[in-house]
Symmetry: C2
Subunit: 211 residues, 2 copies
Amino acid sequence: MARPRKQDEKDIPGLAIASARCLLEKDGLSGVTMARIAAAVGCSAPALYGHFRNRDALLRAVHDAGFEQLVRDKVAVAAQTAGDPIGRLREGGRAYVAFALDNPALYHLMFNPPPLPEFAGNPFEHDAGMASLLLLRRAVEAAQAAGYLPAEDADRVAFILWSTVHGAVSLMLQNRAPHPAADRQALGWQVVDSAISLITSSRASGPSRDA
Amino acid sequence: MARPRKQDEKDIPGLAIASARCLLEKDGLSGVTMARIAAAVGCSAPALYGHFRNRDALLRAVHDAGFEQLVRDKVAVAAQTAGDPIGRLREGGRAYVAFALDNPALYHLMFNPPPLPEFAGNPFEHDAGMASLLLLRRAVEAAQAAGYLPAEDADRVAFILWSTVHGAVSLMLQNRAPHPAADRQALGWQVVDSAISLITSSRASGPSRDA
DNA sequence: CAGGTTAAATTAATGACGTTCGGTTTCTGG
DNA sequence: CCAGAAACCGAACGTCATTAATTTAACCTG
């Protein structure tokens, strides 16, 4: 019972991430213990330390895997909305809402990641979440090419759109939306539409901000 | 060394909440341990259990205290903006941004509260956060009385405004805003102004949503 | 004012968890 | 076939939240 035979090799990193994600949705973050992950993988807890520096690093890997799936979802939407920048923004936003509502605990982890001292110096470079912002910025730039918000900074517009939708699903996942029992997806879609109206209403008149 | 003399009585609940809040901003959530809180209060760790059911309950008290301060801040703003609904929304939003940026760890706790099984059945009734939403809704209703967004549901508009600003400060506090080194307060104010433009741009034409 | 009950702490103990250590088995390169 | 590296396990350690047993002060009740 030490090193396994080659035929018995297991993909411990992959299984650990998948098991942790499963435990996360089932029992919440505090239910994700090294011992339980190991039991689900079929190894001992110390074996996980051969593949992840510590528990936070494993959770960070789950976090990254979540963003990778989110990016995949958004790329799939983008492929179906070529030539329609506003439609792409709308469908991308709806995919985002669906992802958050389908994976609430994972979404929570993605936006409340464990602090990683090794990356503290430059979180921007190592954060998988920024890839998803890049996709959004490209969609905003496409909308600008179609005549919307011509004078605005695409990064800033993308940030505001992301803020609105992220804020809404965050509040919904904590039962802080009005009428908590009501249909969450419908509310999420309304928020997406309101955010997009910030852009669509701009074609006739310039933005009305004053800062 | 058991029960203290009356002259030595301490306000353990109050001191514990204040100490926990101080530790929270200094060392993060994982630095807030019962032993450290007790040391700061000047008592032993088990003594805290006479005033709080467990650590989560103590953190929930910190969470509630944070919302109480936030509401105080917003009430102070409201007192200075009587008769100017749009100005009240703008200044209220700026006060919100300032609170979040001044108390980042507390803000994080307020919007990622520990799960309380005893209140799981009806979080709406027991959540101090909802009081702050009520203030916002009143401001929206005042704006509607002044002719903005006449046909919209005030709850829904308030939720969207809150979502936008909350989402933006949440992302900023995690270094997920563009240009992370730039002035955060300025970006927060821009977001507030953009959100308010959703309302101000509505007086001429109705909302352009389609859901 | 004596004596018993309650209240509010204390120290000690328990149990779960993350993590490290030492040893054992298997793989790999010569 | 053999040395060394790699991968894993069981046991052990330290920290932390929480509970148990105990002590002392305050509060009645006569």
